[in-house]
Symmetry: C2
Subunit: 236 residues, 2 copies
């Protein structure tokens, strides 16, 4: 028999604000907690969507594979984020693959509780619209970037977002808190590993970043922002 999950796991998360303690308990009742080691997939593209999730600790990378086999990184999931709610997209399979980039824990609910929970807790439903709305705006920002910015600026924005969402203070600057390859950055910014490598090397020479194998430290966020916003000539 499982120990009941404690409401303190979720009570501080934006998705659950405004909900009373006993409501949290009822929401948690059908939930189970899951663990993934780095490299494990929580779910894979095309698989029937049987559960939805809230990330507690760790970091996930959601990718999609196109018909031609190209990989696109759709989003990075950070602690507190709701994910895998295929029901909200009117789907019964997962549109992408969610893979842990570091060891990760999450809460999982059977998908049939999606409607019930939102109907029973209207504040949760309100919070969910907001959570999805924020992601929609993120997506629009990316669309706008792809539509109007050249490679170097897109990479600058992607790196700054990573620093904001998953940055950790380090002596040299802001360190991205999980292993990230040039290929990852390339498939977030619609370019190639080669170009990302060239861009980051140029930035490294200028002292803006410190790059290594699967690691990245932002040393001069302000100048990166200038490049991202087109106020400074790029270094390519």
């Amino acid at each position: 028999m499982l120990a009941a999950l404690d409401r303190s796991l979720i009570s501080e998360l934006p998705l659950f604000t405004g909900l009373a303690g006993n409501a949290l308990d009822r929401i948690l009742e059908p939930a189970t907690s899951i663990r993934c080691a780095a490299g494990d997939a929580v779910f894979e593209q095309g698989e029937p969507a049987t559960r939805f999730f809230v990330l507690l600790h760790g970091r996930l990378r959601v990718t999609q594979i196109t018909g031609e086999g190209q990989q696109v990184v759709v989003r990075i999931i950070n602690p507190g984020d709701l994910f895998g709610m295929a029901k909200a997209l009117n789907r019964d399979d997962y549109p992408g693959t969610a893979m842990a980039v570091v060891d990760t824990t999450a809460l999982a609910w059977p998908m049939e509780f999606w409607d019930d929970l939102l109907l029973a807790h209207s504040r949760l439903a309100l919070n969910a619209t907001q959570a999805i709305g924020l992601r929609l705006e993120d997506a629009h920002v990316r669309v706008r970037e792809f539509a109007t910015e050249e490679v170097e600026r897109r990479v600058a924005h992607a790196v700054l977002r990573l620093a904001a969402q998953a940055g950790r203070a380090a002596p040299e600057g802001i360190r991205i808190d999980f292993p990230i390859s040039k290929q990852d950055i390339a498939s977030m910014t619609a370019t190639t590993m080669y170009t990302v490598s060239r861009v980051l090397s140029a930035w490294q020479r200028a002292g803006l970043v410190d790059v290594g194998r699967q690691q990245l430290v932002v040393c001069d966020a302000h100048r990166l922002m200038m490049i991202g916003d087109g106020h400074e000539r790029g270094l390519l």
Copy 2:
């Protein structure tokens, strides 16, 4: 004194399915109806977001202007769509401009009713998450297209989407039901007017479409799909 709005205006819309008649009446109470002539803006980017809307008739084009003055078409709003719900994005201004491309009518609610309505009608909240979720998926599709497809395929997909959402049967094929310029298509697909012109001209020569000034008829949707999915060599 205004005549009350009739529930039949909205009872068939997906956003309001599952709601009882008297709930619809209560939802409509704070609503007013608005009209816009072609070319009028329902709201403009940066303006304080005082109202949210549901489109009844007509068609809107939502654009954003970047810092450098480039215009991006974020989406086309079709009848039945919810729009302008800045509250769901945690904003108090509109992130884009919604302009009528044909004469248009819509329902408008004061923004302060957003939370109240969703909390009072949990089915509405559920439907709203789904509406926003569908748009999120649309946005992801666009991101994936920008990231992996070349211009001609992006244009093919954009044209097919227009045909699906705003197509009207015509003797020669599926006519896009509102005036749309090459520049519009360019800012939906992240390219230039010049390139769109070349692409559509080539398609016209091959009999796939019939283009005119601000008008577009899809004659061979199947071959366009083949081009969009990369199964057929493009015509450029």
